[in-house]
């Protein structure tokens, strides 16, 4: 068999292994120790010892509640903002403007966004400086617990800032799929005001299309580690952060309790998802009558106003936060109530350039390799589906959301334990594989639509002109899908750049990237250098997108010139 055909043949199975393998193996790696079984550490008597120890951890109940509330509240607020805004403003100029602002925001890694927000809202942050002392009267930063607040509200705000762009772009794609325009025209012609019409005619068809992404948001928000480390409460921290702490504890017997904690995190996420699912049932039941009640308006102006305010706030918070990073990275000494730094300097960047070498190289290397592997696997899988639509294996599709829904801290921890048991050296190779698990789903989601939409007649034509399936793929399919492929690669690269947990856990600290450095420095370090790292981290994905947009135009021109 030719290499490509062989690849096409096996890639669905490889995808399945890549997606489900680490998750299931990782879960197995925590379930056994959680119940006392880990012979390498002397655990050979199964029992509930680890759970007893876990239940005695001070503040455990609050950790669980914080994680649960964070998962549900973050998602509810983000979804409300997005749907109110889309309902009230679709097709307006404001909508297009927001669309342009939110897309780049999506590529900003979670950690950078969280750092930007921290610099903005902390008691000594940008906002406080801008309103002091003329408005607030503060000569010193107020003694307020805003960042790292006990109930994690600033952490949830940080998550909302990132989840709104995500849900917004997912919704945009779904709107086209469910013919929202036609539905709205119909509803409007029947006399429904935009809001009332949208929630009756569009939302019920739209929601099933975005349900899985919403679940992914719930899962992420209930188990986020990087945002939790930067903005979350500290005593006690959210459960996911606590689990990471227990995992890193020098006392090896803590591994049993840490496993139990990781398993508890899975239960908490499943709990959050279940509560949400029950909520869905409830809303469906209650709204059945409302949908056909015939009410033509529902305080339209008020609700669409709320949607606009929510979206604008998200954009403004993120934008001014990023601006804050930029200011800090060039700031000299900046005493508190001053609105701007007293001095400007390049020394921060001079130092950063020296420190950024390894982290940048590692981030780029891991990102490029993981993205390349993902694109190859996804292309093979999609080509397999295109060639044999009957046999197209649907199994990988079901596994697609597995890594996005099972809490990463749980299964990655299990993988670390397996890695140690098998004597595999932590390093770049394991980190690349870890990234692959998270990059691949996004590459698939980004590429599959274009692949499916490509007119099948192109390939039929190429085949009747004498091209073998492989030649048709290389000479027709690939060149014609070059732009979507590059976009998918840029998405994959952005996802890889943002990964914190797989890098620190599977690399055992040996593989440093801009992301791990930014998070590590965040806890206390010099704001200027943190700002420089966070900015670099935020800019890297943008470089990927710029390449993805610029390359096709360049390639196009070159092909034309070379081929007669």
């Amino acid at each position: 068999m030719k290499p490509l055909s062989a690849w096409v043949h096996i890639s669905p199975w490889l995808v399945l292994v890549v997606l489900a393998g680490p998750v299931l193996a990782g879960l197995a790696g925590i379930v056994l120790p959680a119940f006392g079984w880990l012979p390498a550490l002397g655990g050979d008597t199964p029992g509930f010892h680890a759970w007893r120890q876990l239940s005695e951890q001070p503040g455990l109940f609050r950790m669980v509640i914080i994680s649960l509330v964070s998962g549900l509240l973050t998602t509810a607020v983000s979804l409300a903002i997005v749907s109110l805004f889309v309902a009230g403003w679709s097709g307006t100029r404001a909508f297009r403007a927001v669309e342009r602002c939110l897309s780049p925001l999506l590529s900003v890694p979670h950690a950078a966004a969280a750092l930007a927000l921290m610099f903005l809202i902390a008691p000594s942050g940008l906002l406080a400086r801008w309103v002091s002392p003329w408005l607030s009267g503060w000569q010193q930063p107020p003694d307020l617990l805003i960042v790292n607040d006990v109930w994690g509200f600033s952490m949830m705000a940080g998550l909302v800032v990132k989840e709104v762009p995500f849900l917004f772009l997912v919704t945009l794609a779904a709107l086209r799929q469910c013919h929202a325009g036609d539905r709205m025209r119909l509803a409007r012609s029947l006399g429904y005001a935009p809001m009332a019409g949208w929630f009756r005619a569009v939302f019920p068809a739209l929601y099933p299309l975005i349900r899985l992404p919403v679940y992914a948001v719930i899962a992420y928000a209930s188990a986020a580690v990087d945002v939790g480390l930067i903005l979350g409460p500290t005593s006690p921290p959210p459960l996911s952060v606590a689990v990471l702490g227990w995992l890193n504890d020098p006392r090896l017997d803590m591994r049993f309790m840490a496993s139990a904690g990781a398993l508890l995190q899975v239960l908490v996420t499943v709990g959050a998802l279940s509560v949400w699912w029950l909520g869905e049932r409830l809303v469906t039941g209650i709204s059945a009558g409302w949908l056909v009640s015939g009410g033509r308006r529902c305080a339209d102006r008020w609700w669409s106003g709320a949607g606009l305010v929510g979206v604008m706030l998200t954009v403004l918070l993120a934008a001014s936060g990023l601006l804050g990073l930029l200011i800090w990275s060039f700031a000299g000494f900046w005493s508190f109530p001053a609105n701007w730094p007293g001095q400007w300097t390049m020394t921060t960047w001079e130092r950063a350039v020296l420190l950024l070498g390894d982290p940048l190289r590692n981030a780029a290397l891991v990102g490029v390799v993981a993205t390349l592997l993902s694109v190859l696997l996804v292309l093979g899988w999609l080509e397999n589906g295109a060639r044999s639509p009957l046999r197209a294996t649907r199994l990988p599709q079901r596994a697609l959301y597995l890594p996005l829904i099972v809490p990463a801290v749980a299964f990655l921890f299990g993988l670390v334990m397996l890695q140690a048991l098998l004597g595999i050296q932590p390093g770049l190779a394991s980190v690349v594989l870890g990234h692959l698990v998270f990059v691949l789903p996004y590459v698939y989601l980004s590429l599959s639509e274009s692949y499916r939409r490509m007119d099948p007649r192109w390939i039929q034509l190429a085949r009747t002109l004498g091209a073998s399936p492989d030649r048709a793929f290389f000479r027709v399919r690939l060149p014609m899908l070059m732009a979507p492929c590059l976009t998918a690669a840029a998405v994959g690269f952005a996802v890889s750049i943002g990964q914190y947990l797989p890098t620190v856990l599977l690399g055992a600290g040996r593989v440093t990237t801009v992301t791990t450095e930014a998070v590590a420095l965040a806890s206390g370090g010099d704001r200027r250098i943190v700002a420089a790292f966070a900015l670099t981290q935020a800019v890297l994905p943008a470089v990927g997108y710029a390449l993805a947009l610029g390359l096709p135009a360049l390639l196009m021109r070159r092909t034309r010139r070379i081929r007669p």
């Binding site: 039929q460 034509l461 085949r463 009747t464 002109l465 027709v476 060149p479 014609m480 034309r560 081929r563």
Partner: protein, 206 residues
């Protein structure tokens, strides 16, 4: 035996028979198949070209120049396909599109392309991008590309329906002339009676 032979061909989907056809087309001849949309015309062409979705079940057999086509992949059938849209590959130049069709064992592939273009009155169009051509020019290049592959039969899927009325007659003339000159059997599916009549061959109604 030369030509295209459809021997009790039958196409079915979920136990529903979509069409039955028994026909023979000699080299240089055009058989016109007519029917309203949804009657399975395009399915028929896919079946002959070998690109039929496997959800369809087929019976009977298709023979080309005495060779049974059943089970052969499309690229080995030597059956050319011409669609309603020209479908010129946007990433290749005009010459590149035609070159794509020329079999690889040919010695002077580029010269052959030049000759084909010259013959079609498209001399000097080679390096241009397909987007720069008019509708009629695109249709001609698409035909050249199909002919360049040296097919033993040509299938035409509503090839003129996207052209405006004046161009249409001209293109019909050109396409049928070239097919006759090439001396290959052709099968035309259309819902336009004028197309069918202009083909000058037998007409089958589905």
């Amino acid at each position: 035996m030369k030509g295209l032979k459809l021997d009790h061909l039958q196409i079915a989907l979920n136990d529903t028979v979509l069409l039955r056809l028994d026909a023979r087309v000699r080299p240089g001849e055009v058989l016109a198949v007519m029917g309203p949309s949804g009657s399975g015309k395009s399915t028929l062409l896919s079946c002959i070209a070998g690109t039929l979705d496997p959800v369809f079940r087929t019976g009977g057999c298709v023979q080309l120049d005495g060779r049974d086509l059943d089970g052969l992949p499309p690229e080995q059938r030597q059956v050319g396909l011409l669609f309603q849209d020209a479908l010129l590959f946007p990433h290749l130049s005009v010459a590149g599109n035609v070159l794509f069709g020329v079999p690889r064992h040919h010695a002077d592939r580029r010269e052959k392309v030049e000759a084909l273009l010259r013959d079609a009155g498209l001399e000097g169009f080679g390096p241009r991008g397909p987007q720069t051509l008019s509708g009629g020019q695109k249709a001609r290049v698409a035909l050249l590309r199909t002919l360049a592959a040296e097919p033993r039969a040509i299938l035409l899927d509503e090839p003129f329906s996207s052209l405006d009325a004046t161009l249409r007659g001209e293109m019909r003339q050109y396409v049928f002339d070239r097919i006759r000159r090439a001396g290959v059997p052709a099968l035309l599916v259309t819902h336009d009676r004028e197309d069918a009549i202009a083909s000058g061959g037998h007409i089958v109604e589905l």
